[in-house]
């Protein structure tokens, strides 16, 4: 009876030792180690992309490239959930910049078209004049004649950035750039 009890205890101890050795090997050399190394690499890449996105966001030029988290899109699901919760809103912001920028710049263009149209007697949005096509002319304050499309294009080129940045644009500033 005692021998059986000893044998059972010994079996438990041996089992525990084997389990510890197995886990040790798994942790340092087995698939767990491989997964840990992969995660470390993914994490490092995402850190680099986050830093790059933050540097891009410091650029005051609105049309400047805004870095995105490509590694996050591809491999983010392999990181621990608590880390994912930290990064996900940031990745969403980075992804959302370009669609928001494109929409906002279209609105600026449209506002410029409509404002130019309100100051002249031609239709609000005209098809671009092609070679041989009809050209609408406007005269500026100095008496110089310009094609209306050129005026619109110039205003869009000059005004889009400051308007998107939220600057208050002034004629003196505009004349300087023109």
């Amino acid at each position: 009876m005692v021998d059986l009890q000893d044998a059972a205890n010994l079996a438990v101890v041996v089992g525990l030792v084997v389990a510890v050795i197995f886990n040790f090997i798994q942790y340092f050399y087995g698939p767990w180690a491989k997964r840990r190394e992969e995660r470390r690499q993914i994490f490092a890449n995402i850190r680099t992309e986050i830093n790059s996105a933050k540097v891009s966001a410091k650029n005051s030029r609105m049309s400047a490239y805004q870095g995105r988290l490509e590694t996050w899109k591809k491999d983010g699901h392999r990181l621990p959930r608590r880390i994912q919760r930290d990064i996900a809103p940031f990745a969403e912001l980075s992804e959302g910049y370009w669609p928001a920028y494109l929409l906002a710049s279209k609105l600026v263009e449209l506002a410029i078209y409509k404002s130019v149209a309100a100051r002249t007697d031609v239709a609000p949005v005209l098809p671009r004049a092609t070679s041989g096509g009809e050209v609408h002319w406007v005269v500026d304050v100095d008496g110089n004649k310009h094609s209306k499309n050129n005026i619109e294009d110039s205003l869009i080129t000059v005004l889009t950035e400051p308007l998107l940045r939220g600057d208050h644009v002034r004629w003196s500033w505009l004349k300087y750039h023109q």
Binding site: R47, K54, F90, L93, A104, A111, I112, R119, R165
Partner: protein, 39 residues
Amino acid sequence: MLEDIEGKLLFEGELVERPRQIKAAIRDYRFPRLERLEP
């Protein structure tokens, strides 16, 4: 005319301001869990 343009953009305010807000949010974003993992 600039006032016209700015007036029209004020009307579209939120959409025109959105990229600016996103840039600011990216700049100011904090990663509490990641920062704890930093050496």
